[in-house]
Symmetry: C2
């Protein structure tokens, strides 16, 4: 069998990528089941929102990293929309601002959340692995790592419906972050999927795209692992937020 | 109170650093207690050795990163010993080679271990956060992050004595990695402690040294969190080693 014969068609590559989602996306994680199933305590939902803030906050930095690597203005115009979605066009706008409304509604002062001082090391290391991946790997891999958005509309619907049904401390308003994400994610993943199908020309490049999506699934999965260990299993690592503790933004030690 | 008055004396700085060890070093982690206390299963010891290999393997790369940043030949001569300790002076020598003897004695093929394909994402992200920290932060912080070695002779003694007492599948020979580490760690941490006491001239620099050691403690802690979650609690993330599975070094997907 020749090497050429081993190459995947564009449709086969897409099928492989969708299969990764079916096997590894974090909608399969026990913390997600617990969250949308209504079994989380208030403190667990707090911990989830606090930690997930750091991921949200780093997304535009990750996307700006990718922008720096795109030689083509048309690609940059497309990709720039991601940054606009998260950072907004004015002060009260954008996904990060909406996420801060959620953490605020859960009792966290804004400064405490944005300082990231209470997040889990497991969250920090996973998120920073993602930005570093997009800085140091090929542009093709950096773009491919965004493809978890292929799978996010489904998890968002499940999460929002489940949380509204089960928790009286969340509302459509506090979950406003998610209201626009499904449409944005569809637009963004359409672009990224077209891009990798077009530019992953060799089997080695196709494999690198597959590996990038597996990597990204592990970035999301590891964040829920860390949450479960700390706040469901109760083994909070030194320095991380402890439910009930005072959450002022501390001075340097 | 003036800013100068807030500055720590050299002895106060050392005391603060030792206090971090007393509060945050991974000898306090439940996985360490389980390992040296004899409660680990064979598979848990396997998982520990397999994952810890990746940390061991990246140490000389971390140290080479620090070498690239040291302007002073005398400092580089001192620091280079760390690389020699891990990489050895000839083929059968060095800490990495000794660690591979341990993983080999626990049934893992050498190629499988060195491929790192079965390690936990939590291990990978924590270890890579460490190398990235030593690349991107100040040289002072990079050196300070090695100061967990101040605390390692004690944990090594406890670990080796406990493992020899409780597990018939380990021996002094398979734990040979640790036989030289206490002496090396003492020499290395003497150098690093002298360095930070000498060069952390402002309170801001002293704080950065404290933060670097806290960061490094979280790198070690997060690795044991990931082990516990996957192999004690049984929630193995997709793609990580599964006890009993065939461990050949796989081809690309």
């Amino acid at each position: 069998m020749s090497v050429a014969a081993l190459q995947l068609t564009s449709d086969e590559l897409e099928a492989r990528l969708r299969q990764i989602g079916a096997n590894r996306y974090h909608n399969l994680h026990r913390f997600h089941h617990r969250l949308h199933g209504g079994q989380c305590t208030y403190e667990e939902v707090q911990a989830w929102a606090l930690n997930r803030y750091y991921y949200q906050a780093m997304i535009p930095i990750k996307d700006a990293t990718i922008l720096t690597r795109m030689p083509n203005p048309e690609d940059r115009r497309q990709w720039r929309k991601r940054i606009e979605d998260h950072d907004g066009r004015e002060e009260s706008d954008g996904g990060i601002e909406r996420w801060l409304k959620l953490t605020g509604s859960l009792g966290f002062p804004r400064d405490y959340v944005t300082s990231a001082q209470g997040i889990l090391p497991g969250t920090r290391f996973a998120v920073e692995a993602y930005t570093e991946f997009c800085r140091s790997r090929s542009l093709l891999q950096a773009i491919a790592s965004s493809l978890t958005e292929l799978f996010s509309p489904a998890i968002i619907n499940e999460r929002v419906a489940g949380m509204l049904a089960h928790y009286d401390f969340v509302s459509k308003e506090t979950l406003a972050y998610f209201s626009q994400r499904a449409v944005q994610a569809k637009r963004d993943s359409d672009f990224a999927l077209d891009y990798v199908k077009k530019y992953a020309a060799t089997r080695a490049e196709q494999n690198s795209v597959i590996a990038a999506l597996e990597f990204k699934c592990s970035v999301l999965w590891a964040q829920l692992d860390a949450l479960w260990s700390a706040y469901v299993d109760g083994a909070i690592p030194p320095g991380a937020w402890v439910p009930g503790e005072k959450t002022t933004h501390g001075q340097a030690a």
